[in-house]
Symmetry: C2
Subunit: 511 residues, 2 copies
């Protein structure tokens, strides 16, 4: 009955037969690829798409990811869905978009600007991963950009330093020391475009391109068979990771031939006492992603001791370190041993992921290797943007923006906690001392139905299961990951209301 | 006597034992890596560096590349060079750079902002590959950036469309149709960060990351043994390339496991009649890089016929298509068959390589695959920059800038031709009907000495040998590649004077 993905891929050619990026990425990429297949006529009108359960199983993605992609394309008119007949390619596909129709609609607060899109049904976006994009500090950014562009010497418009602009590295060194307790200097910072780029630079084989299959893949072993393959890598696997984390990171590492080994989590964070023969460990010490707690002080010390004893390295994903509310700030783990910890941060949560600006703070011995991996022509961040960020930081405007957003997000968190205490008291809210998301703990076995109830109430969010490492043996936790930073300020109230409606006793029965 | 690179790499650890990117990239990366090794103390004071001839041979780079890297580090004080004692790590290395010292010096017109750099001796930079960076249209760019940022809907600051902003794709579709005769629509354009990024998206294995070693490299065959390895690739090798071209591209492809097969060049351009079983061919049809001629009309038709007959694809590197002077513009090859040709362009020559903005114009059937390879979190171009470029194009400011630069570069070319006709009449100037560089043909066997004479006169430029495919059997041409666009306007006269001094009869004897 259910057409397998393999058959499906064969029938429409190789076009969709690819690895998919992370949750958000997978949804967007799958949607785009399906849309392209329909547009081009390779998926003929009337063609029945595979049931989303089987496609999800074949692709190894959540059922929700496929369901979302289908729903989006139904809303756009490319597909039709009818009870009993499944999802099919629409008989009359939307006309080719004229240039003007491709203009951004602005209707969807978080997702990609849809290509050829018709307006989507309004919905409440509480998926984690994005700041309130309506709060981007346009005036401050523009002022910094203008100053930077006026002051810049001509050479900034030539080929750049693979490490990134010295102005930005100097500003980051000072800022990170002050705000995060990081101990470094500008020469040990390498600008990158975000955490994924950092992972590629550290674990990618094939210097220069930051990528590449040097050993040949056709006859090689299966994925994961060769741990830490590739001579040109800065770091090698196996890499220990937290049992809950971004699947996107795990998949990117797997694509580089790096095996990830899950560490269980408990109330003190990752069980770093389980570390053994791994060569590196990836942690979110300030605010475990997604479960939300800080790594206990003893474990912070223990993991650094382990790294020293084993000659290993700790990779610190400081993804939302700026946002903490109730407790004393937890400094960067990096400060415990700058020669054993690589800290990676970005402006994706503090300003916008659209800038593609991040940084790696490196032990001295890795700087040369990372620069070689990056090369001069790697896709680094826009130089004017780098200069603008340097100005934003040194002028104090970056701090002001972060403080303003911290107030705003704290207010949202408080509203979330209060509303749930009143309307859904059976739900336990956790992980809210910091960051841009909360975890709503649910009774065992109820996560899937809660996600579905939320969807019926127009609320998009992820369950904890999305983030669970497939190889972990720790008990599963049921929970919802609520990105309370994602909506704009005026949309937050309605999103919260809808969420409470879905979670209130009886809410799951609303259709 | 000569310590091999392997021994050297072993002694200082694995830090420099990496593939190197292209000529400019190799120089910068090698310099940075050596500097880092000295800074960190891994190369102890007094350590003798391998002779540059042997290091060059081991790395497979030009002797000049190593010599340049050493010279730069000597100028910075990290190394010392003494006749008879070779190049050594300086006894007292420069102090660690305080943040302020890392500020850009602005002294070097083209190269990277040096890290920890002391001012370098002034020199004349006639290396190809860069526009006159002093001519970046700051005011126009800033005006477009401001307009774009003011008009943008909030959603632009969220996670982006993997294809790039629709505003930019619409602007590019219209511009490329008008200026280059490209036949496309916004939905078939994917924004990228330049040609190298396009190559990685097209030939990289491991979807999502745009990179990665899926098959495992440790036990795999040698580089090039597995042609077109990796299931996730959009295109597969072997890839035919022009016998002269950017080594950086060949190396990037080799790192992806793609074998390149050189096509000989003659007066009509690449010998596309030699194409046989390759699955794709990479060409520079408008202005062969670096030799400078256009691909003859019959060959343009022939290569498209070949692609149709073989189910193959033509990759058109339209790297300087905006700049043509004497002859009727040669439209993009892509217009002959938009379903068989992928055109790749960027603003790196027209505006600045520091923006990292480029585009791929794709046959419909590849759009989905490329989007899957790119993924949502790939290091795409800054979204505000994308919007600014869209505004620059639609406002007409981009055209005005290109026209102004075309005038300027044409003037420089005319001065070059006139000066050489007078001062070095034995030098034949070719490839000057278009583009930002000229090729000075030299008598057989004189290229190396001419490059060295130029260096003695303070002129940095490359010989044709730098660009020759190692596997080609076509006769070698001796020549110099002169990037006459590279200096600023006020520096060009002195650069030209120095070049003529080096090439004038007797010039090679000046010390």
């Amino acid at each position: 009955m259910a057409e397998s993905w393999v058959n499906y891929a064969e029938r429409i050619g190789s076009d969709l037969h690819l690895e998919l990026p992370g949750p958000g990425g997978r949804r967007a990429a799958l949607t785009a690829a399906l849309r392209a297949a329909v547009r081009s006529g390779r998926l003929a009108p009337g063609t029945r798409l595979p049931p989303y359960r089987s496609l999800a199983a074949d692709l190894g993605v959540a059922r929700n990811t496929v369901a979302d992609a289908y729903a989006e394309l139904v809303a756009e008119g490319w597909l039709t869905a009818r009870q009993g007949s499944g999802t099919r390619v629409a008989e009359r596909t939307p006309p080719l978009a004229p240039a003007v129709a491709a203009k951004a609609s602005g209707a969807r607060p978080r997702a990609c600007a849809p290509r050829d899109a018709r307006p989507l049904p309004a919905r409440h976006d509480l998926r984690q991963g994005t700041p309130d994009v309506s709060a981007f500090p346009r005036s401050a950014w523009l002022a910094s950009y203008r100053r930077a562009l006026h002051q810049a010497p001509n050479e900034v418009f030539g080929p750049g330093d693979p490490a990134g602009r010295p102005e930005l590295r100097a500003a980051l060194a000072a800022y990170l020391a002050r705000a995060r307790g990081v101990r470094t200097e500008p020469d040990r910072i390498v600008v990158c475009s975000g955490f994924a780029h950092a992972l590629r630079l550290l674990f990618g084989s094939g210097g220069g391109s930051g990528s590449g299959d040097r050993g040949g893949g056709r006859g090689g072993g299966g994925r994961g068979a060769a741990e830490g393959a590739g001579e040109g890598q800065v770091l090698r696997g196996p890499l220990a990771v937290e049992a809950y984390g971004l699947p996107f990171h795990r998949e990117l590492l797997a694509a580089q031939g790096v095996r990830t080994v899950p560490l269980p989590l408990d109330g003190h964070g990752a069980r770093v006492d389980r570390l053994s023969r791994e060569r590196a460990v990836l942690l979110t010490p300030a605010h475990q992603f997604p479960t939300g707690g800080p790594l206990h002080a003893e474990r912070r010390a223990a993991v650094v001791d382990w790294a020293r004893a084993r000659g290993a390295v700790v990779l610190e994903d400081d993804y939302d370190g700026e946002f903490r509310y109730d407790r004393r700030p937890v400094g960067a783990l990096q400060s415990l041993d700058p020669e054993r910890v690589i800290l990676v941060g970005s402006v994706s949560k503090s300003l916008s992921p659209a800038l593609r600006l991040g940084w790696m703070v490196l032990p001295d011995r890795y700087v040369g290797d990372v620069l070689m991996a990056k090369g001069e022509r790697e896709a680094w961040a826009s130089v004017p943007d780098q200069l603008a960020l340097a100005d934003l930081i040194t002028s104090g405007a970056y701090d002001r923006h972060v403080r303003r957003m911290r107030q705003r997000y704290r207010g949202r968190r408080d509203r979330l906690v209060a509303a749930l205490a009143e309307r859904a008291p059976h739900v336990e809210v956790s992980g809210v001392a910091a960051g841009l998301h909360a975890v709503l703990r649910l009774p065992r076995g109820t996560e899937r139905s809660a996600v579905e109830a939320a969807a019926r109430h127009g609320v998009a969010l992820d369950g904890l299961a999305e983030f669970r490492h497939p190889d972990t043996d720790m008990p599963a936790h049921d929970g919802l990951v609520v990105g309370y930073a994602t909506p704009s300020e005026h949309a937050y109230g309605a999103a919260l209301e809808a969420l409470c409606g879905a979670l209130a006793p009886g809410g799951t029965r609303v259709s």
